[in-house]
Amino acid sequence: MRTSLSDVVIQVKNLVKYFSNVRAVDGLSFEVRSGEIYGLLGPNGAGKTTTVKIICGLLKPTSGEVKVFGFSPMENPVEVKKRIGYVPEDVILYESLTPRELFEFISSVRNLSMDVSSKIGSLVDAFNIRQYYDSPIATLSIGTKQKVAIIAALLHDPPLLVLDEPLRGLDVRSSKIFKELLSIHIENGGAVLLSTHIMELAEHLCTRVGIIDKGKLVAEGTVEELRQLIRKAGASLEEIFLKTTEQEEEVAEIVNMLKEAFGKK
């Protein structure tokens, strides 16, 4: 199922999504290629999660075109889901199942072979959750639940990982392991679509970044390309983000106001 380097894995063209009268996604277009981590950045309510859900075949777009490995998530959601490992923003798993039972269910639904057990073993030990393997998910901490969701997304060795805020609740050790796993995935020719608020993560991990605001793509490129775009050498991704989403001045004003209100008198 692996694709060759620089194959287009995700193709989004003029994507529009309305919720009642609200335009959540407004003519969005971008591509994700194999062998790259594409970071989707944007403020709250920018349309990131909506876009991710449409790509994963969970939401129907109002208009526009989406292709994942050449399949339309609207017409062929099953084929798309076979090729995706998805970690949702709000990890809501089956609370009364144990991780063992969840992995059993997912592996069976995905028609995986018995060999998956050895992969589960490696991942369970890598994320240090062996002791929770037979405990109901309800009894686990948020971070452990997140680890379970990550392992569940990796079981079938998907060529595309779609990750919506994947580091939520993870400890330093697990974050490091997860980032290393992403690197291995990319080296093997896989692709990643990463939706996140954590600028440092995007800055260090992403091959390319797309910044969306009010459902529109306002900037796209490598971090270096984006620095050139705002004409500020050495700018952090946070600065680029605030500049491109036109929040820089607003944030500065708020900081001044807070200094006045809470600063030492």
């Binding site: 994963c56 075949g57 969970l58 939401l59 129907k60 998530p73 609207m74 017409e75 062929n76 959601p77 099953v78 084929e79 889901k81 076979k82 995706i84 998805y86 949702p88 809501i92 798993l93 089956y94 609370e95 009364s96 199942l97 144990t98 063992r100 039972e101 992995f103 059993e104 269910f105 997912i106 592996s107 069976s108 639904v109 995905r110 028609n111 995986l112 072979s113 018995m114 998956v116 057990s117 589960i120 073993g121 369970v124 062996r130 002791q131 929770y132 393997y133 037979d134 405990s135 109901p136 309800a138 009894t139």
Partner: protein
């Protein structure tokens, strides 16, 4: 702190607990839908009012029936007849209070509902009082009605204070014991049911506890709906037994309480001393049990805010073996649904129902009181409930339902698995009922065969109902929870069931007047035809596209 202030604060905890308890029962409510949340909040009040009305009606009607009960009408001892009637009322209030407090008790123990109150500058004593008040509020009006309505009505009718004076303490015992048992079961639910274990013995224990839990929760409905049918059977049974057997039976709770109540209201000098002593000992034991039960309950409730509210500290066993069995997707969905249903108190009645139905079926069979009318009501319940389980199985995913949709699972696989699971549940019950019928020679062989013949009809109707649910979810964006409340959907479901299951069963009963053999052959042919028509078209019916 003033009582009025404590009352106000307790309202916050009470409302939160009620809300979460309803969420526990209706786990698929979309919390982002403000209207759905508001409806859920208002249903807290409506639920309580309905229960209060039900208790009032049952209390008034049973008190009146008891007052006008003549020995000629029961063909036996009037005191024993009235004992059965009063114990019926006692059991009814026991189940209702249990039903009202079971889910709320679970929430009291399981969720950190006290967090907003704990941070307030309240003394430990005030916090304990506030918690107790919040707990009492969960069943305040129904409990007051349960304690007072029956004795008051009986006192008014008999123009005497005694039914009130003797009745109130006994009803209080019932209500107190009921809420204590509910809290104990809620505690057991979290320490046993929710804790999984690799030990087979522990899992068997967990399953038994889950069945007990479900029977008590589901028993309210079953007992309430069959109350009037069971009452004459029990009265006849009781009066036909020899005195020595009565002495043994009278020890059983709550017959002992009811007997003592009737002895106190009757001319007790003419009653058998041995029976009265047996009942008295049993009542004393119940009173003692209530005393210690209430003491435990009070201690447990008032210390709750100071305990770790979430789950009890879980001992995580480190497994040696991480190997998982792989099955095909159909079996995987069935296994998962069974696991989820068996661990969710609001859904476990799918598993409990066959057990309760079997017991309901068994009682008149053993007592020789099996009538065609009873058989018809059994068929009615089966036809009504099993397709209803389709909805429950669609709700089984709860909030994690969205996670299922991230997997490459075809709609038809999902629905086939769920319809098959409903049919497996039905088939297990059908076989049990047929074996019981063969053993007791009741009813005839052809009617027994009809139980099995219905199975394909259950599958087809479940399949169609669930297909409609998935289609509405995809096309109209309706959640399964919202769907089941829509009049159009309910009508669709009823028509589907009436057409696909009801009509063949009705034909059996009509043709059966002439020839039962022909009736069962015709019904079985119809059910199999439904299955044969549905199987080839399902692939086209349910497309996976969005």
């Amino acid at each position: 702190m003033k009582f009025s202030e404590m009352w106000k604060i307790s309202n916050i905890i009470y409302r939160e607990v009620q809300f979460r308890a309803l969420l526990l029962q209706q786990s698929t409510v979309d919390l982002s839908d403000i209207k759905a949340v508001k409806r859920l909040l208002s249903s807290v009040r409506i639920h309580k009012i309905l229960m209060s009305i039900f208790i009032s009606i049952m209390g008034v009607s049973l008190a009146a029936s008891m007052y006008f009960l003549e020995s000629s009408s029961i063909n036996g001892d009037i005191v024993f007849g009235k004992t059965v009637m009063v114990s019926g009322y006692f059991l009814l209030i026991f189940f209702i209070i249990m039903f009202l407090s079971l889910f709320t008790s679970t929430v009291f123990l399981s969720v950190d509902v006290f967090q907003p109150v704990v941070i307030l500058p309240l003394s430990d004593e005030d916090l304990a009082r506030v918690t107790l008040l919040a707990y009492l509020r969960t069943f305040d009006i129904p409990a007051i009605l349960a304690i007072f309505i029956f004795p008051i009505i009986l006192s008014i009718l008999s123009s005497s204070m005694f039914p009130f004076v003797f009745g109130v303490p006994l009803c209080f015992i019932m209500v107190s014991l009921s809420s204590t048992v509910a809290l104990y079961l809620a505690k057991a639910y979290f320490s046993k049911i929710m804790q999984s274990s690799k030990s087979k013995l522990k899992n068997i224990g967990r399953f038994i506890l889950m069945i007990m839990w479900g029977i008590l929760a589901f028993g309210t409905y079953a007992f309430g709906s069959l109350f009037m049918e069971l009452m004459p059977i029990l009265m006849r049974l009781f009066n036909n037994w020899p005195p020595y057997l009565r002495n043994v039976i009278i020890i059983i709770f709550p017959l002992s309480l009811a007997y003592i109540y009737n002895v106190l209201l009757t001319n007790w000098l003419f009653l058998a001393k041995s029976t009265a002593i047996a009942a008295l000992i049993s009542t004393a034991f119940s009173t003692l049990l209530t005393f210690y039960g209430v003491r435990w309950l009070m201690k447990k409730i008032t210390t709750l805010p100071f305990e770790s509210m979430k789950m009890p500290a879980t001992k995580h066993e480190v497994p040696w073996e991480l190997k998982i069995p792989i099955s095909n997707p159909l079996i995987a969905v069935m296994k998962r649904d069974f696991r989820l249903a068996s661990r969710n108190p609001s859904l476990s009645f799918i598993i409990i129902f066959p057990i309760v139905m079997f017991l309901i079926y068994l009682l008149p069979v053993i007592l020789g009181a099996f009538t065609p009318l009873f058989l018809t009501s059994i068929f009615g319940m089966l036809i009504f409930f099993y397709p209803m389980f389709s909805i429950t199985l669609m709700l089984v995913d709860g909030k994690a339902g969205m996670y299922t949709f991230t997997l490459p699972l075809r709609n038809r696989t999902l629905i086939k698995a769920k319809a098959l699971l409903v049919t497996v549940f039905y088939f297990t019950l059908a076989i049990t009922l047929v074996l019981t019928s063969i053993f007791f020679h009741t009813p005839d062989m052809y009617t027994s065969m009809l139980f099995i013949a219905i199975a394909p009809g259950i599958y087809v109707s479940s399949y169609i109902i669930m297909s409609r649910m998935v289609k509405s979810f995809k096309e109209e964006g309706l959640s399964f929870y919202e769907m089941q409340k829509q009049a159009v959907f309910i009508l669709f479901m009823l028509i589907t069931v009436a057409f696909l299951v009801g009509i063949p069963v009705l034909l059996y009963f009509i043709i059966g007047l002439e020839s039962k053999k022909l009736g069962v052959i015709l019904a079985a042919t119809l059910f199999l035809s439904e299955l044969l028509i549905t199987l080839p078209i399902d692939n086209k019916w349910l497309k996976d596209s969005l």
